[in-house]
Symmetry: C2
Subunit: 255 residues, 2 copies
C-alpha cells in the first residue's frame, strides 16, 4: 500500500489496531521518533516543505536508514494530516507490543480511567515520562493512546515512556500480583501533601474522567483517596494539571 493511503487509513483507531501502526506528525515529533528505538516504516513529505532545513535533515536521516520517503503535494498531505496547518512531514511507525508480564512494576504507575481528551492524555504522558512514572495504563473509555493528537501532545514521550491499554480486570490482576496498592485522585480525599508522607515504594494512581469523576469500581478498589487542596468555590483542576501535581508529589514530595 502506498504511504499516503496508509497514513489516511491510520486516522481510524480500527486501522491502527489492525496494522499495529501509528502516525507521528510534525517536524519535532518526527525528530523524536527517529531518535527513539521504535521501528519507523516510512515518511510522507509535502513537496512544498522539502526545502525547509529541518525537514530536509529528516529526509536525509530516513534515507540513511533506508526508510521509504514518499513526496506528495500539499493537498494530498493535508488529506493525511491531523492538524489544520500541517508542517508537511509525518512518519508511520510500529506500535510497540507490551504485555502485562513485561511491565516495569516499580515506583509510580499511572492509570487513566476514561480520560477522553487527546490533548490531555498526550500532556499526561509527557508529564509521566518527565516526572518519572514507570508505566501508564489506559483503561477502556480512554482515548486511543496512538491517536494522532495524543502522539503530538506527548511531544515524543510516547516513544520512550511505557504505555499499555488494559481492561479493568487485567489491571487489578496485575496490581494484585505485584502487590501494588491503588490510590485514586478525588476532591474528597485526604490532602496530597499528607498522604505522600506515608506512600509505599510502589503505588498505582488512578485519574478519572474529566466530567464524570471517580467510577464506583475504582472507588471500591482504592486503598486511599488523595486530593489536591483547592480554594473555596473552585470545583476542579484540568486533569493534566492534576496529574502533573500528583506525579511531582509522589516522585519528589515524598520524604
Amino acid at each position: 500500500m502506498k504511504l499516503l493511503s496508509l497514513a489516511r487509513d491510520l486516522k481510524r483507531r480500527k486501522a491502527r489496531e489492525r496494522q499495529r501502526l501509528f502516525v507521528a506528525e510534525g517536524v519535532r515529533t518526527v525528530e523524536a521518533l527517529l531518535d527513539s528505538t521504535l521501528t519507523v516504516r516510512g515518511a510522507l513529505v509535502a513537496r512544498e516543505s522539502r526545502d525547509d532545513a529541518r525537514t530536509a535533515r529528516l529526509v536525509q536521516r530516513c534515507e540513511g536508514r533506508r526508510i521509504p520517503v514518499e513526496f506528495v503535494n500539499e493537498t494530498e498531505f493535508a488529506s493525511a494530516a491531523d492538524t489544520d496547518a500541517p508542517q508537511g512531514v509525518l512518519a508511520l511507525a510500529t506500535i510497540p507490543r507490551t504485555a502485562p508480564e513485561g511491565l516495569p512494576a516499580a515506583g509510580t504507575v499511572l492509570v487513566l480511567d476514561a480520560v477522553q481528551d487527546p490533548g490531555n492524555v498526550g500532556t499526561i504522558i509527557r508529564s509521566a515520562a518527565a516526572l518519572g512514572a514507570s508505566v501508564t495504563i489506559a483503561l477502556p473509555g480512554t482515548v486511543d493512546l496512538w491517536n494522532a493528537k495524543v502522539v503530538r501532545s506527548a511531544m515524543g514521550a510516547l516513544f520512550t515512556h511505557c504505555v499499555i491499554s488494559l481492561t479493568w480486570e487485567e489491571t487489578v490482576g496485575w496490581l494484585d500480583r505485584r502487590n501494588i496498592p491503588l490510590w485514586v485522585a478525588d476532591t474528597h480525599g485526604e490532602p496530597l501533601q499528607v498522604a505522600v508522607r506515608t506512600r509505599p515504594a510502589n503505588v498505582a494512581l488512578v485519574l478519572a474522567n474529566e466530567g464524570a469523576g471517580v467510577s464506583p469500581r475504582v472507588a471500591a478498589a482504592a486503598a486511599r483517596s488523595v486530593a489536591i487542596p483547592m480554594t473555596a468555590g473552585s470545583e476542579s483542576l484540568n486533569v493534566a494539571v492534576a496529574a502533573g501535581i500528583l506525579l511531582y508529589m509522589l516522585e519528589t514530595g515524598a520524604p
Copy 2:
C-alpha cells in the same frame, strides 16, 4: 448594535479592547458568568438549542435580570461562535477594569511572559484561581486574556480571579513598590522543593514562552530561578502543567 453582529465583531482583540466587552461561550461558561459579579450585557441563543433544559434555565435567568436575549438560527450562531461544535449559547459581558494600584499584593503573583497558546493560558488561570494565587499578570506577547478560547479553558476562573495586562516596566515598578521578589521557572534553576523552604510571604513567579524560554530581561531581574526536576532525556513539561506544580508547591508545599 445587534448582539449577533457585536458577538461576531468581538472575535477580534481590537474590538474587545475598544468595546471593553468579551464573549463567554458554552452552557457551563455562561452559567459561571451569571454566577459571578461581572456585568452581563446580553446573550445569544441558537433557536435549535432553546429546548435544552440547561439552556432554557439560562434564558430564564437572563430574563429575570433583564439581560437582553437574542435568538438566532444555527448558521448565524456558528458565525459568532469560536467552537467547531457550538452548544448554542453565548453571552457578552464587560471586561472588568483593573488598575495596578488596585491589585492585591499578597501571596503568589503569577506573571505570564509571552505565553501564547490560549488553551494553556486559560488552564493556567483556572489553576491560579483553584490553587490560591492572588493575581495573574499578562506581559506583552501573551495571548489576550479575553480571547474566546482563554475564557472557555479557564472554566469560569476568569470571572473571579484577578487578571491584568501590564507592560514589563509597569510590572517591575509595581513589584518594586510592593517589595515583591521575582522568581522565574527555568529548567536550570534550583530544585523547587528546596526553594520553597525559604519562600518569602509574597512572591511573583514568571512563566516564560512555551518555546523560547526565559527572556534575558526576566533572567536579569529575577531574584531566584527554580526548576521542576525531570528525568534524564526529558526536555520540558507543558507550561500549564509546570504552572500547576509551581503554584501548588508555593501555596501548599512551603513549610
